[in-house]
């Protein structure tokens, strides 16, 4: 009996305590739930604001660092503001942005396949594809110690997801006639976080750009927006004037979607362009040709260039425009074993970069290596295609743009080193030394010099550009001759991109060689551009010189002279050149003072390369047809000579390509407006022991630089 009473008593105590606890919790609930609800909602508002600002900023700046910094700054501010605001309530808040959340599971959407796509590091953009999204993700934990409330965990994921049908239905449509105009249809499905469909968008939320071929610009399309409900839309697309977009271009569209929260998504109807490119220079070479690498340039209108010359497109193939994605997104893949080598096409990424040129596309801009912008009509996408394997004369290059907004710029592979008055540019194969400041140094008459390897050494050959006239030496009336009398002059501007460096100058300056004096106003205007691609055996030289006044001097005019030896030693033993009939003439430089040669000592039957070489080292100039024609036509046929000689002090081995060779008597006159416009490749090779020369590098590769052997485009296709 007593035990029973005791049990009842204890039970009643437990019930009383439980009741009190429950009542207490109920009271706390009302207070905590309201505070937490306010926090959750404002956390969401803040994240949406951060994402909207982030996407708008990125869309404008085309680079990720500034928008992400700003996003984190906004986010941090809000967390501090929230902590400060609720401090009197005794709330402890812990925010976290280090987690990852799956946003888009792997799948195929209307023919476009994506892997698992996550959001992390606060924000993430997967753009530039038919299935694209912008997302932000963060978590927070809250304790309200004053109310005994602990371990509230909240996850915030906000996004805008745009899926377009760019698959077969889109590709094969014939358009819809509206009021007599053919509009092409673009079907979209748009959702936000938690799978909620976005069905409140109208015409002001969409912008579509198409490539307008007549103006060579991407233009805003005329849109009719059909809201099909449930987040489904149909965009009817016509050109800027409300007319049908031509057949060639309507499939290549860029869609910009901005929802009513301000979040932007950018999506394209294609994700790559394949170019099948045929080399025509080494088709007769049956073995491997590992150094046949072209550094091709691509314009936004789909034109591909080699030495600023558009590659001829085979048959009725139409170029496909490159979309205006940020330049850091672009990558180029290439086949290795011909166009059917699809495995390498999907994964073999070749060196590439985007360069900013002046609108004429002939001269680089000072923003040459700027990557914080979108691709547009002033830019060139540069990439390297190799035809090294035996029997391979066609390759396919895939121009693609990465969908991950965090894509990095290509790693820098070309290095620039300043050594006093010299600037050394190393491409992995050779080091090109430029006398960068002022164009010519005191006491030496060159401005460019190439040395093998990754540092400049005694084994090198120097190059002098456009030497004109000569002066008596010693002055004023010495028995000897100092030449050239004048040279183009000017400071080189040198800029390195990730995989190609450029040196250029555009000036009228002239250098008086004998007196070592420069003048800003010479008798000419000259524009020189040197391109140094990564890991190739060559550098590219563009000369564009025009005589602006009539000029008279003693007789001598050369285009591009090779000099070895000099004050730094490093004589190269032999010279050789290709004859006009394709053979090779060679000899060793004189071992004693050969004096200044007379014109008759040179050769007039030169072809498409000339070289200084020995068994372990050699370099060759590989001129274009424009070079050869300009050289032979400047003073008329018969005057142009290729002249090997040794300087009077035996300090230089010289191989001169003369438009007008040196003579001791008479004068020559250049008329105003006389042009000297040409290109050449300057090639480094490992040397050669004289033989038939058919297996020498210059004889194998020279056609790469001759216009009639430039590559041609066999096919162009785009895909998703």
């Amino acid at each position: 009996m007593a035990a029973l009473v005791m049990v009842l008593l204890i039970f009643s105590v437990a019930i009383s305590v439980y009741n009190a606890q429950t009542q207490y919790q109920q009271l706390l609930y009302d207070q905590t739930s309201q505070v937490i609800q306010n926090l959750r909602e404002d956390f969401g508002r803040a994240l949406v604001d951060v994402l909207a600002n982030f996407t708008q900023s990125y869309s404008q700046l085309a680079e990720m660092e500034t928008p992400r910094f700003r996003a984190f700054d906004m986010y941090t501010f809000w967390t501090a503001a929230a902590a400060r605001s609720f401090a009197p309530e005794g709330i402890q808040l812990t925010f976290n942005t280090s987690g990852q959340e799956l946003v888009q599971p792997a799948g195929t959407f209307f023919g476009y396949s994506t892997p698992n796509e996550y959001v992390g590091n606060l924000t993430k953009l997967y753009w530039y594809a038919p299935q694209s999204f912008s997302a932000i993700y963060s978590t927070f934990d809250a304790n309200i110690t004053a109310l005994g409330f602990y371990d509230w965990h909240e996850e915030g994921l906000y996004l805008l997801n745009v899926t377009m049908d760019a698959g077969p239905d889109f590709q094969t449509q014939s358009g819809t006639s509206i009021n007599g105009v053919t509009y092409y249809q673009l079907n979209l499905t748009i959702n936000r976080e938690n799978g909620v469909m976005v069905d409140d968008l109208g015409a002001s939320n969409f912008r579509v750009e198409y490539y307008d071929q007549p103006s060579n610009l991407w233009m805003n399309a005329t849109l009719i927006v059909g809201n099909n409900g449930g987040g489904n839309y149909t965009l009817y697309v016509a050109n800027a004037n409300g007319q049908m977009i031509p057949q060639t271009y309507w499939k290549y569209l860029m869609l910009f979607t901005q929802d009513n929260r301000g979040i932007i998504v950018e999506s394209y109807t294609y994700t790559y362009i394949d170019y099948t490119i045929q080399e025509n220079a080494l088709t007769s070479v049956s073995g491997s040709k590992p150094d046949e690498t072209y550094d091709l340039e691509m314009l936004d209108n789909g034109t591909m260039l080699w030495y600023n010359t558009p590659l001829v497109v085979s048959g009725s193939v139409n170029p496909i425009p490159i979309p205006l994605a940020p330049v850091k997104q672009f990558r180029v893949n290439s086949t290795v074993n011909g166009p059917s080598d699809l495995t390498n096409l999907a994964s073999n990424t070749v060196p590439s970069q985007v360069e900013v040129w002046n609108p004429d596309l002939l001269t680089p801009s000072l923003q040459f290596a700027n990557w914080q912008l979108r691709f547009n009509s002033s830019e060139k996408l540069v990439f390297e295609i190799n035809y090294g394997n035996a029997g391979i004369h066609q390759q396919t290059a895939r121009i693609c743009w990465l969908t991950d907004g965090d894509a990095a710029i290509p790693a820098p592979l070309v290095n620039i080193t300043i050594n006093g008055q010299f600037t050394d540019i190393t491409n992995g194969q050779y080091t090109l030394r430029l006398v960068a400041n002022g164009g010519y140094s005191v006491a030496i008459d060159w401005s460019m010099s190439m040395s093998p390897g990754t540092s400049y050494g005694s084994e090198h050959i120097e190059y002098t550009l456009t030497g004109v006239g000569w002066s008596p030496y010693p002055p004023p009336n010495g028995a000897g001759s100092w030449f050239p009398d004048i040279l183009p002059y000017g400071t080189w501007t040198i800029i390195a991109g990730p995989i190609r460096a450029v040196a250029f100058r555009d000036t009228s300056a002239v250098w008086g060689s004998l007196n070592n004096t420069g003048s800003a106003n010479g008798p000419w205007s000259h524009n020189e551009t040197i391109l140094i691609p990564y890991n190739t055996k060559y550098w590219q030289l563009y000369e564009n010189l025009h005589w602006t006044t009539t000029y008279t001097d003693n007789v001598y005019y050369d285009f591009l002279t090779m000099i070895s030896g000099g004050a730094q030693g490093g004589y190269v033993a032999n010279w050789a050149y290709q004859t006009a009939t394709g053979g090779v003439r060679w000899n060793s430089f004189a071992s004693t003072n050969g004096g200044s040669p007379a014109a008759s000592n040179g050769y007039t039957d030169f072809g498409y390369w000339y070289s200084q070489f020995q068994s372990d080292f050699g370099e060759a100039v590989m001129p274009s047809t424009a070079f050869v024609n300009s050289l032979t036509n400047m003073f008329g046929h018969g005057n142009a000579h290729l002249t090997p000689w040794v300087s009077g002090d035996y300090s230089r081995h010289v191989l001169d390509d003369d438009a007008m060779p040196f003579t001791t008597t008479g004068t020559m006159t250049l008329k105003a407006n006389t042009p000297e416009v040409w290109t050449a490749g300057i090639w480094l090779f490992n040397g050669y022991t004289p033989g038939t020369f058919s297996d020498s590098a210059p004889q194998i590769y020279y056609k790469m630089f001759v216009e009639q052997y430039y590559p041609t485009i066999m096919n162009i296709t785009a895909g998703i």
Binding site: M1, V5, A20, L27, R45
Partner: protein, 166 residues
């Protein structure tokens, strides 16, 4: 002898039970919550305050009514807010709202920028007369945070009171 010992134990049990029951009754008296009318009334006011501001927030009501897109206070925003809140206030409730904007201060703590609350009000936003809250039967205060679409974080301190007890 045996019978007397049994009666004593019964008396002990009865006395112990009386003692325990008395203790529980006394402790329950002291443990029970305060006047439920008062307590629930304040909770209800809190809830009403959150709901009121929350409903305005859900409709984006604070986006373009207090600060413009560059962060400058809009003209007459205090009067507009007073009208908006007043129109949603039932009879018998008075309010007084203070609005702050969270901003970085010029100082910092441990290298981190400090966020402070800048008072935006230049006048009282209320539907009561001065001193009314001193005589109110029930008073509650709600802190509510709202980040505008232009990313300005506003903090509302809303005081609510009943002018007569229920």
């Amino acid at each position: 002898m045996k019978q007397r010992r049994g009666i004593a134990r019964l008396i002990e049990v009865i006395l112990a039970s009386v003692l325990l029951t008395s203790s529980l009754s006394i402790s329950y008296y002291y443990l029970r919550p305060a006047n439920p009318n008062v307590q629930r009334g304040i909770d209800d006011l809190d809830k009403y305050g959150f709901d009121l501001l929350g409903s305005l927030a859900q409709k984006g009501g604070f986006d373009d009514t207090i600060l413009n897109q560059t962060g400058a206070p809009l003209p007459d925003w205090q009067h507009q807010l007073q009208i908006a809140l007043g129109s949603m206030m039932p009879v018998g409730l008075i309010f007084n709202v203070t609005v702050y904007e969270a901003v970085y201060s010029s100082g910092s703590i441990s290298g981190s920028d400090l966020v402070v609350l800048n008072l935006l009000n230049t006048q009282n936003i209320t539907n009561s007369v001065p001193g009314a809250f001193s005589y109110a039967a029930q008073v509650s205060q709600v802190t509510f945070v709202y980040t505008t679409s232009s990313f300005y974080t506003l903090v509302f301190l809303l005081q609510l009171a009943r002018t007569s007890a229920r």
